[in-house]
Assembly symmetry: C2
DNA sequence: TTGTACGCGTTATCAT
DNA sequence: ATGATAACGCGTACAA
């Protein structure tokens, strides 16, 4: 038998004396389906059914129940529901770091999509460390997320730490930083093609000695960009030289250092393709300080199309990386799967369009059009 | 009486046929404290106590329990725990938008701090809309977050939509975009002082006709920056003119438009103080395109110290806004409160240090030092 | 030091 | 169409 207290104020037990209501009058017991049922002299089963709009409940009882719920300020208890239903309506997100333009844009897209469908987000950063990534995965698992969206740390070499998810059949969608051999769904752009396009563009602009600045090629994105770069050289009859690949952390400062390296060479390069915009910007600034003209002496292209592209002078040519859409697509895909859309289970990878945005940093000749 | 199934594989009921385990062999029943208790022939109470390291449990039973938990791959069920304890270990975050350098940096700081203390984050964006902010607040409330971290939308004029939290005594900490009259804790910088410093600096550099570009002064940050600007003019014997305040959305494009406005004036301004860096950058670019020299003809200063400051030429003078620390401090404060630290309950506002970083965009004279 | 038993608020399976 | 009741997994008075 359930005994309602009719919202009588009780000196309820209070861990750490928290929370403190603003005043004693405000203290109000949380109302439940029991309260609604009791007020209306019906069973909780009916209330529960009505609240989820079960067609088996008659129109008028439904109305009475909704009104009473409104009146009592009822809100359903997610924990009780999750406890029963074994689902949490929560999506876990693991990313290297949140405070980059690209990543925060992706998150914005994810949040938009997930929020619209009533999913909550739990976000954690791996800080590019496999160890933190493992810890994050465990946290997500312990929080019983319904699914996971992951962008891998740079030196993550295997997916073992997600085995618990795979074994339980909890869907994991990787985006941007992925493992090719994974049999989860990957959402990404064609990095090979993008790099190929960029490099070809530089070649078409008259560059014959192009440096590629990138991060350590452990992660797909850098491996692929390097591959596209090489492929473009080959297809245009230019020889590849190992020394033309500069590996660093892609920061602005390292971009400047790369510029110094470039300028120290006997056969001075006439083109630079950097794997992100920050690094390209740092490089351009340093080149200009050294009296090099961009793009006349050295043409430069970046990757991502961050806002910095439109600030640096000359404005930076870059691959337009659709971060927001990537977030939307990855989240949508995961949610569709969670909603029972079987067709998505067989999807191996989703490729998003990316295009080269040509600006002055690489423009030495009139373009075919526009 | 609890009857364990000894992890026998069951064709368990499966909503939407999900989740799908990778293979039938992997299917494994989630183990609970009942399982541990059953295996060890002890009571769940002891297990429950041991798992939370209750000193009342003997060392050796504890050890046996931990070992068995490990062996069974036990993980505690947060929902059952939350349902019982009425706490969620979840912090809600409501911000205007996540994809700005400043905000994503704040989030990074929050995540770092909260994660270290075992708190999860639920993040939502108001998109600068009061309506969305209200909806977000309700979602957070329904998710029973332990506390809330909020940065208000630009035209949020009152805090009514947080009343449910105030009434229940759920702590709300506002940061950056706050309401002065709130009696919650506010974490912010001294915007008046920062603007005062910046404006004074421009004056010291010889500017006598300074334009202030800012957003609509509905939100504290813009009100205060305007106030500091005015104060500095007054203290230096310069007169304030309404026409020298340009209101826009602080985007890069609007910065360019502001530049056009400035250049159209009969008495051409010789200084610009923009309320963010993006806008300042757009302004500088447009000014330079019009043949104006920065800083010789017009000196420019921004606000935030985003990375763009070190890319734009000349490099942008700006107030260094400690976003990461702000996130850390706000989260730490909230968590301390949730942990029962009474001293924080009386804290009204926390001011973070901010300093003016002088760069070439405003430097017309030798600085006193450095 | 350990065990028993109840309640947290739901949903789901019976029965009526 | 509605009601009674058993889980879901955990925490904790109270008892032993």
């Amino acid at each position: 038998m359930y005994i309602t207290t009719d919202n009588i104020i009780q000196p309820k037990q209070n861990l750490h004396n928290l929370p403190q209501p603003c005043c004693i009058d405000c203290m109000q017991k949380e109302s439940t389906i029991y309260d609604i049922a009791h007020q209306l002299n019906i069973s909780i089963a009916t209330v529960s059914r009505a609240l989820k709009d079960d067609p088996v409940v008659s129109k008028k009882t439904k109305k009475r129940i909704f009104d009473m719920a409104e009146q009592l300020g009822y809100r359903s208890n997610h924990f009780a529901r999750n406890l029963r239903s074994q689902r949490t309506h929560t999506i876990g997100v693991i990313i290297p770091r949140i405070n980059s333009h690209f990543m925060s844009t992706v998150i914005a897209g994810i949040e938009q999509t997930a929020g619209a469908d009533g999913y909550n987000l739990i976000i954690s950063q791996s800080a590019e460390s496999v160890e933190k990534e493992k810890a994050n995965a465990k946290t997500m698992y312990d929080n019983r997320v319904d699914g996971l969206l992951v962008s891998l740390a740079i030196d993550t070499a295997d997916l073992q730490h997600f085995d618990a998810f795979f074994k339980k059949g909890i869907p994991v969608v990787f985006f941007d930083r992925v493992m090719e051999q994974s049999n989860s769904t990957n959402v990404l752009i064609d990095n090979v093609r993008a790099a190929y396009k960029t490099t070809s563009h530089l070649i078409e602009q008259g560059c014959t000695n192009i440096v590629h600045i990138t991060a350590t090629p452990k992660r797909n994105v850098y491996v692929d960009r390097l591959k596209g770069y090489k492929q473009a050289l080959e297809d245009h009859g230019l020889s590849f030289s190992e020394s033309n690949v500069i590996i660093n952390n892609l920061s602005q400062d390292e971009g400047a250092a790369a510029a110094a390296d470039i300028l120290s060479r006997a056969a001075r390069p006439d083109g630079v393709f950097a794997a992100n915009d920050n690094c390209a910007a740092g490089c351009i600034i340093a080149l200009k300080q050294a009296g090099i003209r961009v793009p006349q002496d050295i043409a430069v292209a970046g990757f991502n199309d961050d806002p910095v592209c439109r600030v640096i002078e000359p404005n930076l040519t870059a691959i337009n990386y659709p971060g927001y859409q990537m977030g939307e697509v990855a989240a949508r895909h995961l949610i569709n799967y969670l909603s029972g859309d079987a067709s998505v289970a067989v999807t191996n990878s989703i490729l998003l369009k990316s295009e080269l945005v040509v600006r002055n940093s690489s423009l030495r000749r009139a373009m075919p059009q526009g």
